[in-house]
Symmetry: C2
Subunit: 236 residues, 2 copies
């Protein structure tokens, strides 16, 4: 029986050299079946990993947010034949994409799951924030509704102060500026807020300031992938 | 002014080839000043990264859990002269080690902070668990007191169910078996629990089962670095 490999992808226009270990690159070259959100992009990425790779010998299976249980189960028989690689559009699979369901199924069927090292914008933003990494939460997307979002932000801020916990969020890039402005409006002046934009690319930009210090600033984050990290009060 | 680089280390006896991207390796070779928990181990690691490296030309500054504010501040002047690299004993700095304070100070002084890609046992365990990565929390160590620990586990389990959130923990390796047994005693039978041992090493072993399925099993985790991941009920 094959193994299920969780394969890293680059972030944005980050280079393979900068984010993919050589051992991971070699492992990817041995895999013939890929479960992927977008086969076209995966083919291009594999060609970048190894120009000699023969794409026509590879199999690409759809695995995306619309995949239902049956489509995920349809991947299992390929594991009887050999290894399968799960690859997402950016970074590590299974964080904010549909890989987790396949992984869970693999465990239930006794398939060995092997996570390979690569870039995670969430983890890199966290460590670069200077906020505590002893306790943190990744909360995904905040509610879109303005009132609900403000309430959620305040609740996360209270939890941060009470538990000495760092809070991490993502947003759809075209809504980044709006989220930033709402954070400045809602959070306490002493809360430390990190904006981490375009991590591992040539445009990487990471800054931590208090909410008060951020006021009047307009970081260039519109339509850029960004991670938001905050910690309420004190050092954290 | 120099930059503050957050440098990855291997996990256990994991290989550099398997977990360190070539670009990161090249960057590390250009750095002359290191803030480290253990200079001796860092010297050995640097020698493994590059046999040609001249250790005597490098400066090693102490940065550990006992470092007070003044010791952390003493690192700042080195950034006036050039780059400084922060390196922890294993994996990425700033997660469960003292790097965060230095990073925070760097931000306050306008120093650019650059996180470099490497292995994180927490992140790798999470993605390999098959539990949702859309919302998760790393909660560090649970209370040592048995009653408090049971209460904390139940509260984290309730939160997991209510928020569809994956919970991640570490433990001192010699207490792993005890934590595992307490999890089996306290958590609901349907809760899915992942044990991720010796990630990225030759002894890597990652399994997800329900608490009910784990009963009667004795995973070999005594004195091995391990990450515990759980998600209450349902798919998650």
């Amino acid at each position: 029986m094959g193994k299920l490999y969780l394969l890293p992808n680059v972030l944005g226009d980050g280079t393979i050299e900068g984010v993919i270990p050589p051992g991971v690159r070699e492992r990817i070259k041995t895999i013939k079946v890929f479960a992927t959100e977008n086969a076209k992009n995966t083919r291009r990425y594999l060609k970048q990993l190894d120009r000699e790779i023969v794409i026509d010998e590879l199999t690409f299976l759809d695995l995306n947010e619309h995949s239902d249980q049956r489509q995920v189960e349809a991947i299992l028989p390929y594991l009887d034949e050999g290894d399968v690689g799960v690859i997402s559009e950016a970074g590590c699979p299974g964080i904010a994409d549909p890989g987790a369901e396949l992984v869970e199924l693999a465990h239930r069927h006794g398939v060995e799951v092997v996570p390979l090292v690569g870039p995670s914008s969430i983890l890199l933003a966290l460590i670069a924030s200077g906020c505590t990494g002893q306790r943190f939460a990744f909360n995904g997307y905040l509610p879109v509704n303005k009132g609900e979002r403000a309430r959620a932000l305040r609740a996360y801020e209270r939890q941060s102060a009470a538990e000495d916990r760092t809070q991490v969020f993502i947003e759809t890039p075209y809504r980044n500026v709006q989220l930033f402005e709402e954070m400045l409006a809602v959070l306490s002046p002493a809360t430390r807020l990190t904006i981490a934009r375009d991590i591992t690319t040539g445009d990487e930009w990471i800054r931590t300031r208090t909410v008060k210090e951020w006021r009047g600033e307009h970081p260039d984050i519109h339509k850029h992938p960004a991670i938001f990290v905050f910690h309420a009060g004190g050092r954290g």
